[in-house]
């Protein structure tokens, strides 16, 4: 039964993975794509293999990762409004990215990674560490302190960003604003492959604790009574989710709503068992972001919209619908 439910999401995910690379302002013919593999280099094959495919792969991975993190954090913090960015990780990441954009002295390149990516990861990691250090208590970690610390770090980062915005030159502001809108417009595979070692272990940790999260949803004391090492699970889910979020944000910027709404949609469609919710959130989140990105690159072609605009415009009304409907939890 569980297998069947997950299979439907996987089929949708695969279908979108196959279809969306063909969608875009330039029409692409299958013969040119196949010819490119055989060594017949042509612009269509180049667009398909080095722009569309990495872009779709990144959308599938980023959307999936944000949704899994959102689903896990909503259970961990017992708060249906939590999303991957609530915890201030994206605040740290944005601050790092903005520093890299606005200060030419920080422009470095490390392998395929740009200074924006590197500083976004560093910012997210620092925020993660700071939040974790603030929430630690001798008797364990308090999820409420964690949430408050996260929100506070987020506010502090926003304050510093405002300060730099006030001082920075207008050119840097335009670049930063574009980064904040979120985008998946990468070229080639070099940018996201090096971040996979952060994303996959992070997601693996969350999936590993999916069953534990079912018990934590019943309350810490019930979970402890059932035999769950609650504090260990809280720590691992926080770190795993934080790592995955940091890597994703450094690549695509803070893309709103996917991590908030997709878990709710999955719960409405497939129940509350986190062993189903987490993998299905990955597949549906990836599917949704790939579709949103296809819309973003075609709706105003040849101009491409940042995908964050589409997710917010589509996600906002969907969230309001979930909010007012009876079984929204």
């Amino acid at each position: 039964m569980k297998g069947k439910r997950i299979t439907l999401y996987v089929l949708l995910f695969i279908s979108v993975a196959i279809i969306t690379p063909w969608i875009g302002p330039e029409s692409i013919h299958l013969s040119n794509v196949l010819g490119f593999i055989e060594g017949n280099h042509n612009p269509e094959g180049d667009i398909f293999w080095f722009q569309r495919i990495p872009r779709v792969l990144l959308a599938l991975l980023a959307g999936g990762a944000l949704s899994v993190v959102g689903a896990s954090f909503q259970v961990l913090f017992r708060n249906p409004l939590v999303e991957p960015f609530t915890l201030g990780i994206s605040g740290g990441s944005s601050l790092g990215a903005f520093l890299a954009i606005s200060m030419p002295s920080l422009w470095i390149v490390w392998g395929p990674l740009s200074s924006v990516q590197i500083f976004a990861v560093i910012g997210a990691a620092l925020a993660l560490y700071l939040i974790f250090a603030l929430a630690r208590r001798p008797q364990g970690m308090s999820v409420y302190t964690l949430l408050l610390a996260g929100i506070t770090i987020s506010i502090i980062c926003s304050g510093i960003i405002l300060l730099i915005t006030y001082l920075a030159n207008p050119q840097a502001l335009v670049v930063f604003q574009r980064w904040m809108m979120g985008g998946i417009d990468i070229v080639g595979y070099g940018e996201f492959v090096p971040l996979c070692p952060l994303i996959f272990p992070g997601l693996g940790l969350l999936i590993f604790h999916a069953n534990d999260l079912n018990h934590i949803a019943l309350g810490d004391e019930v979970a402890l009574g059932h035999g769950v090492a609650v504090k260990t699970v809280q720590r691992n889910v926080f770190i795993g989710g934080g790592l995955a979020t940091a890597a994703v944000v450094s690549l695509v910027g803070p893309i709103a709503f996917v991590g908030l709404i997709i878990p709710h949609v999955v719960r409405r469609l497939s129940g509350f068992d986190q062993r189903i919710v987490l993998p299905c959130s990955f597949f549906l989140g990836g599917t949704a972001l790939a579709v949103f990105d296809s819309i973003a690159r075609t709706v105003m072609a040849p101009t491409e919209l940042p995908v964050g605009i589409i997710t917010a415009i589509v996600g906002g009304p969907l969230f309001i619908y979930l909010l007012v409907s009876r079984k929204w939890r």
Binding site: Q74, V75, R78, P80, Q139, F208, A210, N211, N214, H215, A217, L218, G219, E221, V222, L224, G225, H226, G227, V228, A229, V230, R267, F272, D273, R275, K327, R329
Partner: protein
């Protein structure tokens, strides 16, 4: 001969910023008996139970499970021996009764919680014992407070523990359900399980407990059989003159009644 499963020795606990303290020299929770933990609000009943369950670590003192120190054991092995039902039973998500009961098999399963036939048998048995088998597909949001308590009790029973620690399990139950519930506890004790139950209902505690522990302001003021604990003197000491003690017509165990004069209720 009842043997101690959980032993609490020289327990001292307090909460930061509060003058309240729990001090308990010694308490055993043994096989084949129902131990009632009673006392007024704030006497430390739930704190004591949480310490016995290993959910709360005392500032000082030792809790032994068998002959091993509880704090040195991992949660899964504790859960294979101790079933703990806290007072507050809430869920962010609307699980079905069967899902809740299946979760009770956690200490016997691997990481992803897949159940084998023996687990499913234990789940079925727990649902039957608590009379929740006909409601197994219902979701938490569709259950009354009492049904919810029974669903969570079934989950704890599915752990197949040696000892049950229950915090106010009958607080939301109708009187006939309370009787059924305590009879169930007695039959589990007859089968060898040790049971410690925190309750505010002194009469149920008197009728269905083999031993009682009476706490007042974090101290044990009486321990023994219901007849030894629920005396006129103890009642007056704790509750003042508003309590009247009598005897149950069938069992001759102490019964507690409010002291009200006939002219007061006219």
């Amino acid at each position: 001969m009842n043997s101690a499963i959980i032993e609490l020795k020289n327990i001292h606990h307090c909460f930061p910023g509060s003058a309240w303290e729990l001090n308990l020299e010694r308490l055993n929770i043994s096989t084949s008996e129902v131990l009632g933990i009673i006392g007024p609000n704030g006497s430390g009943k739930s704190t004591l139970l949480r310490i016995a369950a290993g959910v709360l670590s005392p500032f000082q003192g030792t809790v032994l499970l068998g002959h091993k120190e509880l704090r040195k054991l991992d949660r899964r092995s504790i859960a294979r021996h101790i079933g703990y039902l806290p007072q507050e039973l809430t869920s962010e998500y609307d699980y079905s009764v069967e899902e809740i009961v299946r979760m009770g098999r956690y200490p016997h399963t691997k990481a992803f919680g897949s159940l084998v036939q023996s687990d499913l048998d234990a789940v079925k048995h727990s649902l039957e014992v608590t009379e929740m088998d006909t409601m197994n597909k219902r979701h938490l949001s569709c259950l009354s407070g009492g049904e919810r308590k029974r669903a969570f009790l079934a989950s704890v029973l599915a752990q197949q523990p040696k000892v049950l620690l229950l915090d106010e399990p009958t607080s939301a139950l109708d009187i006939h359900r309370q009787v059924q519930f305590f009879r169930l506890l007695q039959s589990l004790a007859n089968d060898g399980m040790g049971i410690a139950v925190v309750t505010h209902d002194l009469n149920f505690a008197s009728l269905f407990s083999d031993r009682l522990v009476f706490l007042e302001q974090g101290r044990c003021i009486a321990m023994g059989t219901p007849g030894q604990v629920l005396t006129e003197e103890t009642m007056r000491l704790v509750y003042g003159e508003v309590i009247l003690t009598g005897r149950h017509p069938e069992t001759n165990r102490p019964m507690i009644l409010p002291r009200v004069l006939a002219e007061e209720i006219k």
